[in-house]
């Protein structure tokens, strides 16, 4: 960090109870406390959230899009993880 360039923070907002935090955008702040406050002003000024996470952008490790296929392939071939994999007789409810 040079003298005046504040680091970048990624902002995640829980829009209401029961939902998970979702990436809302990013902002610059000198430290975590200020990042949280700036995030509140910027991303929830129309009451869009009940909880905020801020994460230094440099702390995020992302999968590489080049590895897209091998990285996500194992999940794609396990359709049994999805409820639609299973045939349920008609008339059976609450499943």
């Amino acid at each position: 960090m040079t003298g005046t360039d504040w680091p970048l923070w990624e902002v995640f907002v829980r829009s209401r109870r029961g939902l998970s935090h979702t990436h809302a955008g990013s902002l610059h702040a000198p430290d975590a406390e200020m990042a949280l406050r700036n995030a509140r002003d910027l991303y929830t000024r129309r009451s869009e959230g009940v909880s905020i996470w801020v994460v230094p952008a440099t702390a995020i490790t992302a999968s590489s899009p080049d590895e897209k296929d091998p990285f996500f392939e194992p999940a794609a071939d396990k359709p049994y993880r999805h409820p639609t994999f299973y045939d349920i007789p008609e008339g059976v409810r609450h499943l």
């Binding site: 960090m1 003298g3 005046t4 360039d5 504040w6 680091p7 970048l8 955008g25 990013s26 902002l27 610059h28 000198p30 430290d31 975590a32 406390e33 200020m34 910027l42 000024r45 129309r46 230094p56 440099t58 702390a59 992302a62 590489s64 899009p65 080049d66």
Partner: protein
């Protein structure tokens, strides 16, 4: 990441296919250098427009004639700062930091919408900006919500949602003036007279002279041509002006049954190019204020960074 020529060909094919299929390009995807450069240029110009655009309206915050209007105007100018932030963030995903873009703006090496080089001379100008300038901006921006670059499209969705109040407040403000005292009505008409033509220029040069349009359309960064959007805007405004009880300053404006659109007079492109070249009424003033704010704020930004470093809160 270095890639060999055949690899690049494959990546380019994947990119083209994604764009063709209306899929979004995301930050870590491979993209042509020119696509990245075009996006950075466009998003930066858009972000700069938001923050320079705060000035002509902030000019009236301290003189707003009612507390209700004052609250609305402050909230609107605040939104513009927020929109600037969303957009700088979108540009940042392409590897260009906000500081770098601001430096370019301050050095006059990147542009902002030339509309903000016109002065706000009366209170009615706040209304005219809301109705016409924000109206033109929305016409431009709604298609950008489907732009091929994901972060830009997402920023635009958020911005368009927030922007809708901006245009409405402007219209309501003008309507109140138009229906008010004689002096207020005259103030409203004068503002519309001054802002109409510059608003039409906001869509950029005519299609046959637009330098970047064709490639941007192919990449689905842009979805409609300048002239198409301009026509759409004129068609929307004419009936709105009638409801306002105000006239648009164009004697050639009339409905063309055959085209199904309003015909309108010739735009003074010399004026447009002059303003673009820096010769508008407020170019120096706008950049000057921006630069001063940035320079005056340097010690504040340094202090916060120094505090974070001292207390082990710095992250990078």
């Amino acid at each position: 990441m270095t890639t060999t020529a055949p690899e690049t060909e494959v990546l380019a094919a994947v990119f083209d296919a994604a764009v063709a299929a209306d899929e979004r390009i995301e930050p870590r995807d491979w993209m042509p250098d020119a696509y990245r450069a075009t996006l950075v240029r466009q998003i930066a110009q858009h972000a700069h427009s938001e923050i320079i655009g705060m000035q002509p309206e902030a000019n009236w915050i301290t003189r707003a004639p009612s507390l209700r209007r004052k609250a609305i105007l402050m909230a609107k100018v605040q939104d513009e700062a927020g929109h600037g932030l969303y957009l700088y963030s979108a540009a940042e995903t392409l590897g260009t930091g906000r500081d770098e873009l601001l430096d370019k703006l301050h050095a006059g090496r990147q542009r902002y919408s030339s509309i903000f080089n016109y002065p706000t001379l009366t209170w009615a100008d706040v209304g005219a900006i809301g109705w016409l300038v924000d109206g033109a901006a929305i016409t431009n921006q709604v298609p950008l919500c489907r732009c091929s670059y994901g972060p830009y499209a997402r920023a635009m969705v958020r911005i368009c949602k927030e922007e809708s109040f901006h245009q409405r407040q402007g219209y309501e403000l003008l309507l109140t003036l138009s229906r008010g005292t004689e002096a207020q009505h005259a103030m409203a008409q004068d503002a519309v007279d001054r802002w109409w033509w510059p608003s039409l220029m906001m869509f950029g040069p005519p299609d046959d002279e637009s330098a970047h349009s064709a490639q941007s359309m192919a990449w689905k960064i842009k979805r409609h041509s300048n002239d198409e959007l301009r026509q759409r805007f004129v068609d929307i405004c004419v009936p709105q002006a009638e409801s306002l009880g105000l006239t648009l300053p164009d004697p050639d404006l009339r409905w063309n049954e055959a085209r199904g659109h309003y015909d309108f007079g010739a735009i003074d492109w010399d004026e447009f190019h002059e303003v673009l070249r820096g010769n508008g009424p407020c170019n120096d003033q706008r950049i000057g204020q921006r630069r001063t704010a940035h320079e005056n704020g340097a010690w504040v930004r340094e202090a916060a960074a120094a505090h974070a470093a001292k207390h082990g809160k710095a992250t990078a």
